[in-house]
């Protein structure tokens, strides 16, 4: 309960800072709502998907969302995702955040992938955006014999 309230305030701070942040490259399909919305009381318990998932990308904002547009991994989640970014303190690049729009459950093609951890798909997607910005491509595992025969 206590921690739930603290958690909600942290979300509120994050959301507020991101909405008002110096880098206003917010490309949310729906505008980020202000702290008022995020300030609503939450009961403790598992996240319902309304928590911002955040990664720090060791690159400037324009390398994270080139041209202010969402890169492919994020586009795949469809319109139902809010995205925000701001500079990370200490010269550590850019903090990139996403959550399902309005804090509701993910809808559309993304919905069936999330299982019972709604943050999982968003975290994984953010990690892909980060990896693309930092290394230029997504690291692929070795082929496994379970993948079937190679082409060609």
């Amino acid at each position: 309960m206590g921690s739930g309230t603290r958690g909600a305030r942290a979300v509120a701070r994050t959301a507020g800072a991101m909405a008002a942040g110096a880098v206003a490259a917010v490309t949310a399909a729906r505008a980020l709502r202000g702290p008022g919305r995020a300030n609503r009381s939450r009961t403790a318990g598992p996240d319902r998907g309304d928590r911002w998932q955040v990664v720090t990308v060791d690159r400037p904002p324009e390398r994270v969302l080139p041209g202010g547009r969402r890169p492919e991994p994020l586009r795949r989640l469809g319109d139902g995702v809010d995205v925000a970014l701001r500079p990370a303190p200490g010269g550590r690049g850019t903090e990139l955040a996403a959550r399902s729009a309005g804090g509701g459950p993910l809808t559309g093609p993304a919905a069936h992938l999330v299982g019972d951890d709604p943050g999982l798909l968003i975290r994984e997607t953010l990690r892909q955006v980060k990896q693309l910005a930092e290394t230029g491509e997504l690291l692929r595992p070795d082929r496994s014999p379970l993948d079937g025969p190679a082409r060609g």
């Binding site: 550590r92 980060k130 990896q131 930092e134 290394t135 491509e137 692929r140 070795d142 014999p145």
Partner: protein
């Protein structure tokens, strides 16, 4: 190609598996010249930590020749003889740029396991269970090397294969131990474990100017090896009160730096202390690791000293002497190795003869005898310190 695979209840065996292929533009394919056993393989084979899948290829300490490079590779060409850091790191995230390559954000494809176990993804490693890695092991004819510009290093001619292979893991891990301990001239350093990692830690501590280095183990041939080849003093913990002996050898202070290079008790050895029995009584089912050597290191260490944990632990440990850490004001540090930071320097030192690894490859075997090599290594039979395979 042929590879040493885990076969479940049947143990290990050489099987035909598909050749690796380039999967990212920064990949290289390396034809393996040498691939070594490492203490980190033993808990995997003993069923501790994330589980192997039948067909998984083991091995992460290796060197070989580059036979193919992706279009993004700049520093290596076909034909280069390279040693490859056991840890897979991208070289371009914040952690890599700080030199903390083992903490790499982009080094593994099996991030779900790491996130669950440790809360964060960490750098990758060859030859791990598929769920925890994504990169096949090096006990094979060929291996795919991701981020080849970051993790592969040309080997200077004077360093032969049987020596150079240890620049992949044991030597940088030993260097890490001495560096985390901030070993200074005049220090007394104690190292638990006379395996390759412990010995390379002792060597690094001496190179940094330690006045005395004491290596602790129970295998007489490993202890003799540490004396003869590294110049360390040794203690056999089966017949010595280690903490008392260390106190005596350090003027009653306790060692300034205590390095644990042992890891999980994968084979059920080591006596059960009262603390273990107490902890086990309260719980059914999974048994946490027993950090016996870490505990001893904490007790032995001088006030304000540093305890370094190099041994591999995957989950929880019981009965950690936090009281001693607190009241003696100890610093406890740990990490996997950041070989990318040190391998060129270490290879230079090896070429100059400052670091000697010639005695570590006690058993050189064809890959076909891999299962036998692991038997020797696991049982510490016939003086086996490292079994090194040639595919």
């Amino acid at each position: 190609m042929r590879a040493l695979c885990w076969l479940g209840a049947d143990g290990l065996g050489v099987r035909e598996v598909p050749d690796p292929e380039l999967r990212n533009s920064s990949d290289a394919i390396v034809r393996v010249r040498r691939s070594s056993t490492c203490g980190a393989d033993l808990p995997l084979l003993g069923g501790r930590g994330p589980s192997l899948t039948v067909g998984d290829v083991l091995g992460h300490e290796f060197l070989g020749d580059v036979v193919e490079v992706g279009p993004g590779v700049r520093r290596h060409r076909v034909g280069d003889r390279v040693v490859v850091c056991a840890v897979v790191s991208c070289g371009s995230c914040w952690y890599c740029r700080q030199g903390r390559y083992a903490c790499c954000d982009n080094g593994s494809t099996g991030t779900a396991v790491a996130e669950q176990a440790w809360g964060q993804p960490v750098g990758g490693c060859y030859g791990q269970p598929r769920s925890a890695g994504g990169f096949a092991g090096s006990h094979a004819e060929y291996v795919r090397v991701p981020y080849a510009d970051v993790g592969a290093f040309a080997v200077p001619d004077p360093v032969d294969d049987d020596r150079a292979v240890f620049a992949s893991d044991a030597v940088p891990t030993g260097w890490l131990g001495a560096e985390l301990g901030e070993v200074c001239p005049g220090d007394v350093v104690a190292v638990w474990g006379a395996g390759a990692v412990g010995q390379m830690t002792a060597q690094a501590a001496l190179l940094r100017g330690a006045a005395r280095v004491v290596v602790i183990d129970r295998y007489p041939d490993r202890l003799r090896s540490a004396e003869r080849h590294v110049g360390a003093e040794t203690l056999d913990y089966r017949v010595t009160d280690v903490v008392a002996e260390l106190r005596e050898r350090s003027g009653g202070r306790g060692p300034d730096v205590c390095v644990e290079a042992v890891g999980m008790a994968w084979d059920g050895t080591g006596s059960r202390s009262l603390a273990d029995l107490f902890a086990a009584a309260g719980r059914a089912g999974a048994v946490p690791d027993r950090p016996i050597a870490v505990r001893e290191a904490v007790h032995a260490c001088r006030k304000g000293g540093t305890v370094v944990v190099l041994g591999t632990f995957t989950g929880f440990v019981d009965t950690f002497p936090l009281g001693a850490v607190m009241h003696k004001g100890l610093t406890v540090r740990s990490s996997r190795q950041h070989g990318q930071r040190w391998i060129p320097m270490l290879l230079d030192r090896m070429a100059r003869g400052e670091i000697d690894t010639g005695h570590l490859a006690t058993h050189r075997l064809p890959l076909e005898q891999g299962a036998h090599g692991y038997d020797l290594f696991r049982e510490r039979a016939d003086g086996c310190l490292r079994a090194v395979f040639t595919p």
